[in-house]
Symmetry: C2
Subunit: 304 residues, 2 copies
């Protein structure tokens, strides 16, 4: 139950927090997995959860105690893992309790609205908010499906405030990465909320919408015996948490609408070529997609 | 190299074929995997391939010899695994060489055109053609990627001629299943070419088109560091054999166009709800897809 073995972290001299003590807000799939991973790595983990029963369950073997208003000022890192609007409100209500020198991150799937509001809440306070989005998860939700290895090898996207000076930014990110690495992340990307939201609309949000739309064909109900890996993969994330994704989609609707327009436009091209029985055009469309998939999977120049 | 251990098969008394001797036409991903699986199960396998070098390679450890015009009359089962038009032409050219009592199947992803033509070729001859579609494969192609366990647990769809009388049909299917089971198939479905093509347009063909269209967003080229399982799954089959799928899509274009119209229509509904910022409508659309996915994954009533 001690932070022995955990990196001490570099906290300012004004700090009142205990190095390596983590506060996790929300014990769902993501929050539960964070709590498990840090617990296994030897960190002290305190948690807040809307419902009491899950918190009691987690306290048996994962969580050291409740993240009360008394404990919050002692945490070096606080992770907000509830829905976007709730995460912002939780932080707003307790902004005065966060320790000087502490770091606060979120785990929301959209970054513009969350970062704008949380940076505003943190403005003039002695702690720092960094937008964060762990690129992991499953089609399931809830604490019961959380796993200590959820983030093993996964990418983590970080959005530090543009107001930070270069050196502060570097020191902050290095300290944050030091606290996050024990959770298992395989790589860290640093970007702006705008860039994050543009890319995530394609890599994650569109995937869920397309998958959810895919199963609406009546033939989907007769797939057994006639389907293999491609149907399974295309429809895996069709089963989703509708209220959560509704909130995430609406907070990124400009980007998601643009992605939907693109894919609808491209699908219409194949349909037209098929309707015209134009083999040459159809094969060209398919070859273009094949070439783009292969190019997308080459190491990105930015990785060098 | 003998058929020892292989089921003898029930061949008519007029048969000139050797029980358990298999002819495989085409040593690509599917043909190569069939050859490997039957070879491992103790069957004698003879193969035909367009190019000599792959055949020579396969003869080292998988194939017992070349499927020449001299060997063809001795095969109990012939499997056509090349593209649809080629499979039909290969059979047409050698219809007079197939042994009395022998079974001929194909492995094409479309069944209407292939079955119609092959049943016509078989009409009045002493052997039987059954349409077949193994529901397996990977995004890769070619003999080099073939595997003996490719069909392990996979579904196999069979389309026997509607002209067969009930008892003949039952005996035929039981003999064919006996020859196919050692390859590893986990379940067999018997249906009509029309029903097969309708379902396959959804479960396989649409998946390839959607995946291929998905990667055409410019954001796909920047996915690294911002993507996880959902992007990987949605785009896995985007990398495809364009000439092969062009032929398969065109031979099933009525069904595939209908599936494309459906998914384009559904995607447009999410887009409209997003554009109107209509949370209630968006959540209802997402919940509908979630419910349909869950229902589709329940055991099908027909399975009882």
């Amino acid at each position: 139950m001690s932070a022995a073995g955990a990196p001490a972290g570099r906290t300012p001299e004004t700090a009142t927090c205990i190095p390596g003590r983590i506060g996790v807000v929300g014990l769902g799939l993501i929050g539960g997995s964070f709590a498990r991973a840090w617990h296994e790595a030897g960190f002290e983990v305190f948690a807040w959860n809307r419902t009491r029963d899950i918190l009691d369950l987690a306290r048996i073997d994962v969580v050291d105690g409740e993240l009360t208003d008394d404990v919050l000022p002692t945490c070096e890192l606080v992770v907000l893992t509830t829905y976007p609007e709730h995460s912002v409100q939780w932080l707003r209500d307790r902004a005065h309790l966060v320790s000087p020198g502490a770091l606060v991150i979120d785990a929301c799937g959209v970054k513009r609205t969350v970062c704008d509001q949380c940076w505003e809440i943190a403005a003039g306070r002695p702690w720092t908010f960094v937008g964060a989005h762990p690129m992991a998860g499953t089609q399931h939700s809830g604490y019961a499906r959380s796993r200590a290895d959820m983030f093993q090898g996964a990418p983590m996207v970080l959005c530090p405030s543009p107001d930070l000076k270069d050196l502060d930014r570097l020191e902050l990110l290095s300290r944050l990465v030091g606290l996050l690495r024990p959770v298992g992340f395989g790589r860290f990307s640093v970007t702006t909320p705008e860039e994050h939201d543009r890319l995530i609309a394609h890599t994650s949000q569109l995937a869920h919408v397309v998958s959810n739309a895919y199963v609406k064909s009546p033939a989907a109900q007769e797939h057994r015996g006639y389907s293999a890996g491609s149907w399974r993969d295309l429809t895996r994330v069709a089963d989703l948490n509708a209220p959560m994704w509704t909130e995430l989609f609406l907070e990124n609707r400009d980007n998601l609408v643009a992605e939907l327009e693109l894919v609808i436009g491209h699908l219409s091209e194949y349909r037209d070529a098929l309707q015209d029985a134009d083999a040459e055009r159809l094969e060209r469309l398919l070859q273009e997609g094949t070439d783009l998939k292969r190019r997308a999977d080459l190491p990105h120049p930015k990785e060098a």
